[in-house]
């Protein structure tokens, strides 16, 4: 049993770290599974190749993640380190070294996910916040590459411009092929496929305007759409099986982009409320979102590092 003062210190640390007024139940659960750490400069939190699973909440100080190629990602206070490899369940790909004395809490990913599963609203808030942060990073670091290149492989057999509506199995296949859902368990995807509504657009149709309340997530079934915004200027295309605006769409409460169809297009529309209702019963789906956001984070950071080297 932790000493009370010690546990209080940890709880304070995490309340400060999480910064989104987590419910008391969550705080108590988290406080019971974390340990604090206070590391002087030079301390190695983990090595490349170490088994995944442990997360480090950096309250203050600086930690550098050094890749095999020498690239450095530097994290300061209020950062979560180790989460990327852990959510992808792969050996640590970077070496974590404390640069200026760091203080924080460490916990196992399995315990963290356990707490999230038990407190879905908190999990949802954490996920949305994570998606927003990664997207903001993308806008700041690599505005020309905020989204990966569009998919161009057709999924559906649309012989003769098939006008029939998509069958349930086809909707499932479209979702299953998208990068947001490709690692998701099939059972919740089947539920989502049943809830998804098909929309048809002609070239030039505006699907969503920037600034409108964003209640839906859209997945392109066929055709293509373009997302645009200013400040910073971003233009991105999305093709078959792409989720429009990617994982960022999950974190945005109002549309961050104006979306237009660039040719005859079919999309599957999912009410975010439905999506989270399904995820509440199938926490594996939520795990997929965390994983996907982790991959996106890695892509952006790698792009950032590459751009640094070019500079």
């Amino acid at each position: 049993m932790l000493e009370v003062a010690h546990r209080i210190e940890l709880e304070l640390l995490m309340r400060t770290f999480l910064g989104m007024e987590p419910p008391d139940r969550v705080m108590r659960q988290l406080a019971s599974v974390v340990r604090d750490f206070d590391a002087p400069p030079g301390t190695v939190l983990y090595e490349r190749g170490d088994p995944p699973g442990e997360l480090f909440m950096i309250a203050d100080g600086t930690v550098a993640l050094i890749g095999e190629d020498g690239s450095r990602w530097v994290f300061e206070g209020q950062s979560l380190v180790g989460v990327l490899d852990s959510t992808l369940d792969r050996p640590m790909t970077r070496r974590a070294v404390v640069e200026t004395r760091a203080h924080g809490a460490r916990l196992m990913l399995a315990d963290y996910l356990d707490v999230l599963d038990d407190n879905f609203d908190f999990a949802k808030t954490a996920m949305e916040r994570g998606c927003r942060m990664v997207h903001e990073n993308a806008l700041a670091l690599a505005p020309d590459h905020v989204f990966p290149p569009p998919s161009e492989d057709p999924i559906l057999d649309e012989r003769g411009g098939d006008p029939r509506p998509l069958e349930m199995v086809e909707r499932l296949m479209v979702l299953h092929r998208s990068s947001l859902f490709d690692a998701a368990p099939l059972q919740p995807l089947a539920s989502l496929a049943a809830l998804a509504e098909e929309e048809r657009w002609e070239a030039g149709d505006v699907i969503e305007r920037q600034g409108e309340t964003s209640m839906y997530l859209r997945c392109v079934a066929s055709g293509s759409v373009c997302a645009e915004r200013d400040d910073p200027r971003v233009v991105a295309d999305f093709g078959p099986s792409d989720v429009v605006a990617g994982i960022a769409a999950l974190g945005l409460t109002e549309a961050g982009y104006t979306i237009r169809a660039t040719r005859p297009t079919r999309t599957l529309k999912l009410l975010k409320e439905d999506l989270f209702d399904v995820a509440e019963d199938h926490f594996g789906l939520m795990g997929t979102f965390f994983r996907c956001n982790g991959l996106e984070n890695e892509r952006i950071r790698n792009l950032g590092s590459a751009l640094d080297r070019v500079d």
Partner: protein
């Protein structure tokens, strides 16, 4: 391998290890039996029998020294190597003793040497077996391994008898040494065990760790040791009883023949029990029950002995029980009882218990028997009565041991119990210092965290009023409601300053705090605020502190009459926020008016305000609101606060077929928040097949949360039936997926993708059924940590999985639905999916013989996604028979209607007729 698996539940990769282990025990016991024969004969040839007690004392002392050395040795080199070393050392020492002249001292030493070897070798062997095999393997394989030992005893004794016809007894020492060397050589081919440091066992603390401390830290070890000592004493009394009655009933000339014949029968009985009964009893009845079989039989025998006045038959039966079970079932159960102990505890304590405790118990019992004999009380009836008492105590201690046995598994599997996770923290002086330091932090996040922590621990008095000088508006907004409690006045002057703060939120928070404390001047000052939202708060307080109905107040009427432009919306939001923070039922009519506006402009604050006033008239509106995630928690709290009337309304909505699914699926969890026995009964009643699957899962989660938080009762039989249904469902789905793992024909890429999706969906659904079963198990055993067990079941470590299996096996021993114990064993044990399905045959419908049959069955699944995917894949394959099955299924089942288009589209692929 085939012959072995016919009698033994053997899994892939276990055969070689089993044979080596059984042969090792065979060699070890055979050699020891030969040494024993030689030492008994040589000792009694040269020395009188009254020297034996001295050897016993010497043995106990030596055992203590050797056990400590053994612990260090095992820790450093591993158990296998320790055993190999001991075997070689035993062979060497025995050979030396053979070569020495046979003096009194050498004979004395030989007796002590062989006695010591007998203890140490057997203990080391079982320590090695305990490390090599998991508890689940032990239950299956310790029986056959122990049979090797029994055979070794028979072989050793038979060889000795035969050899003595041709040679002198002391030559048995050489033969024994050779067997020991051969056994050691064999063991070198067995896998090495992992040498693990005890957790936290640094050199510094190792030296401090005392044997007694180990016992005080491990109450289970203390009880197990007591039981072993007690059973040793009871078995010695049984032996004494048997021998004294035999001596009384047979002449000295007949004794040899009698013993030889009787022991031969016992050896055969022991072997049969070992091979055919031991393992099965352990697996069926569990370890503790298996450990209780011997005392139960001894108890029956001893009572019979007392009643029959020491009749030979009763004594023979008593000894028969001991002889046939001691080295078979009892040995297996005893060794398995050591398995849940942590590795380092076993290493440090087993040798001591199995040598010092056992020898000590024998010495004490022998002294007691000597005392009885001196007073001529060693009569069969007296011995029978003593044995009866000891067996009763043995049984009672065994029954109590179950609690500690489960407890050890609980500890091994445990992560953090739900109670620990949600237990509030009791602040002490040091922690208060930490929080107060955090309160004064300039970082708003840290300061706010400290305020929240104190609020959640009901210790707001610790927040100094001076925090209202904090420069951060966020901190001020959070601190004002925290410090403005009824018992405090110190904050008021400081809050008055904040009525003029530049940030609107701070002015509102200050107004709310001051008005709540009855400072009327604050209201007047803010009635003229520039912002409509702040003015609305002031209007609320003005009306709230008045006796007249709020809707009659001019300020309130003015706000209600405002248009829904920017100013009007701000004012209405402000009024609703104020009602949410301090309103009561008097405000219901105002809210009714605002409800009629049917606008999205202030829907969220309206719901929160409705939640606050607790007027039953709003129950239907609140239930409707459950469809939205935002503020669902607040809405639920509001519904719960309205008691039984709200609960009845929820049940009514559940039964109403017209209720929107988006509302329906959140009703179970809302019911669970009531936390009452009635809520638990309603939810338990909903766990039936008639409830749609998606709602049933919500019911399950709601009931799970309710049971974990409140001391409610659940109908265990009903829950266990649901566990059975879910486990069978998991196995059935596994059976359906098996034939689909192999491609049916030369499948094209798209057909392979369809098959893979179908298999994945079946596996997902099987996993879900398992998850539901574990959630139900948690409901049935609310004080257990089943969550950690389900986590352990999917562990990558075999030993952890085995512990989970043994825990579940022991936990479900007294299940009202006995099938769940068998089903859990099948789904949790280390088995391939095909083997699981095979073992579950009695619970499942006949599994599909091939993929085509599987697809035909799946077309009729209740789950429409599964049926549709099966139909889709069937059409992809282009097989005529399957295609016809799909056509028939679409005609019978409306949920498959979407397949009709695909039937038409694929008609040209198969040349088959299209859908009619």
């Amino acid at each position: 391998m085939g012959a072995l698996t016919r009698f033994i539940d053997l899994r892939a990769g276990e055969a070689a290890l089993l044979v080596k282990s059984a042969l090792t025990l065979f060699g070890l016991i055979a050699a020891h039996t030969m040494l024993e024969t030689a030492r008994d004969a040589l000792f009694l040839q040269r020395l009188p029998a009254d020297r034996l007690p001295f050897v016993y004392v010497l043995l106990a002392g030596l055992a203590l020294i050797v056990s400590r050395a053994n612990t260090r040795f095992v820790r450093r080199f591993g158990r296998r190597n320790a055993l190999i070393f001991t075997l070689f050392a035993a062979a060497y020492g025995t050979t030396v003793l053979f070569l020495l002249p046979r003096t009194d001292a050498v004979v004395f030493g030989l007796y002590a040497w062989s006695g010591l070897l007998g203890s140490v070798l057997v203990v080391q062997f079982w320590m090695y077996a305990g490390q090599t095999f998991t508890v689940a393997q032990g239950k299956r394989l310790f029986g056959p391994i122990t049979a090797g030992g029994v055979l070794g005893a028979v072989a050793g004794a038979s060889f000795s008898v035969a050899a003595l016809q041709f040679t002198d007894v002391h030559h048995l020492l050489v033969v024994g040494s050779v067997v020991l060397v051969a056994t050691a050589m064999l063991l070198t081919t067995a896998p090495l065990d992992e040498v693990k440091e005890a957790p936290g066992a640094t050199k510094a603390n190792e030296s401090r760790r005392s044997f007694f401390r180990l016992f005080s830290e491990q109450p289970y070890l203390l009880r197990l040791s007591g039981l072993i000592a007690l059973s040793t004493a009871a078995l010695l009394i049984t032996d004494y009883l048997f021998k004294s009655v035999a001596r009384a009933n047979h002449s000295p000339d007949e004794l040899g023949t009698f013993f030889a014949g009787y022991y031969a029968v016992l050896n055969v009985a022991a072997l049969l029990v070992q091979l055919f009964v031991g393992g099965k009893v352990v697996r069926r009845a569990g370890v503790i029950a298996a450990f209780s079989v011997l005392p139960m039989l001894l108890l029956a025998g001893s009572i019979g002995t007392v009643i029959a006045g020491g009749a030979m038959l009763a004594v023979l039966l008593t000894k028969g029980a001991e002889g046939s079970l001691k080295h078979s079932l009892h040995r297996i159960a005893s060794e398995l009882l050591w398995m849940p102990l942590p590795d380092h505890v076993r290493t440090e304590s087993k040798v001591i218990v199995d040598t010092v405790f056992v020898r000590g118990a024998q010495a004490l019992t022998a002294t007691g028997l000597l005392g009885l004999a001196m007073f001529e009380l060693d009569r069969p009836q007296v011995l029978g009565a003593i044995l009866t008492a000891m067996c009763l105590l043995w049984l009672a201690m065994s029954m109590r041991l179950r609690h500690w046995y489960l407890g050890l598994f609980r500890r091994a599997l445990h992560r953090v119990t739900p109670e620990q996770r949600t237990a509030p923290i009791e602040l002490d002086i040091r922690s208060v210092e930490v929080v107060v330091e955090a309160l004064s932090s300039r970082e708003p996040e840290r300061s706010i965290s400290a305020i929240e922590l104190l609020v959640s621990n009901h210790r707001t008095r610790l927040i100094p009023a001076l925090i209202l000088y904090h420069e951060s508006p966020e901190v001020l907004v959070r601190a004002l409601p925290a410090v403005s409690t009824e018992t405090r006045q110190d904050w008021i002057p400081l809050a008055e300053r904040l009525l003029e703060h530049e940030v609107e939120e701070v002015r509102i928070a200050a107004l709310r705090a001051l008005a709540g404390a009855g400072v009327a001047s604050a209201i007047e000052r803010r009635l003229l605020d520039l912002r409509p939202r702040v003015r609305a708060h002031a209007a609320f307080w003005l009306a709230h502190l008045d006796d007249a109905p709020p809707q009659d107040e001019a300020g309130v009427q003015q706000i209600l009459a405002m248009a829904n432009d920017e100013h009007g919306r701000d004012a209405k939001v402000g009024l609703l926020e104020a009602i949410e923070s301090a309103g009561d039922t008097r405000w219901s009519d105002v809210l009714m008016v605002m409800c009629e506006e049917e606008t999205d402009a202030f829907v969220e604050p309206l719901v929160l305000a409705i939640s606050r006033v607790q007027d039953p008239r709003f129950i239907p509106r609140l239930i409707d609101r459950l469809r939205y995630r935002a503020n669902r928690g607040v809405v639920r709290e509001a519904i719960v606060s309205m008691g039984d009337e709200a609960l009845d309304a929820l049940v009514e909505r559940l039964r109403d077929d017209g209720t929107d699914i988006r509302i329906l699926r959140h009703i179970p969890r809302t019911i669970s928040r009531f936390g009452t026995q009635r809520a638990a009964d309603i939810l338990t009643g909903l766990l039936v097949d008639e409830t749609p699957g998606r709602i049933r899962y919500k019911v399950l989660r709601g009931l799970g949360r309710l049971v974990s938080e409140q001391p409610v009762r659940v109908d265990r039989l009903h829950i266990e039936r649901r566990i059975e249904i879910n486990l069978i469902e998991a196995l059935r789905l596994t059976a359906m997926s098996l034939p689909l793992h192999q491609p049916l024909a030369d499948q094209a890429q798209h057909a392979r993708a369809g098959r893979e999706m179908l298999v994945e969906l079946l596996e997902d659904k099987a996993e879900q059924a398992m998850e539901r079963a574990f959630r139900l198990l948690q409901i049935a055993h609310r004080t257990e940590d089943i969550h950690s067990v389900s986590f352990a079941v999917s562990s990558t470590e075999k030993r952890v999985r085995a512990q989970a299996l043994e825990y579940l096996d022991a936990l479900t021993l007294d299940a009202a639905v006995p099938a769940i114990r068998d089903l859990l064993r099948i789904v949790v044990d280390d088995l391939s999916p095909a083997e699981r399905v095979l073992r579950a045959a009695a619970f499942l419908p006949a599994p599909p013989r091939d993929a085509e049959a599987a697809l035909s069955i799946l077309l009729h699944e209740n789950d429409s996604a599964l049926a549709n995917l099966a139909g889709y894949h069937a059409l992809q394959l282009g097989l005529k028979t399957l295609r016809q099955s799909v056509i028939t299924a679409t005609e019978e089942r409306p949920v498959l209607a979407s397949l009709r288009t695909l039937i038409d589209l694929t008609a040209d692929l198969s040349g088959a007729p299209t859908h009619a």
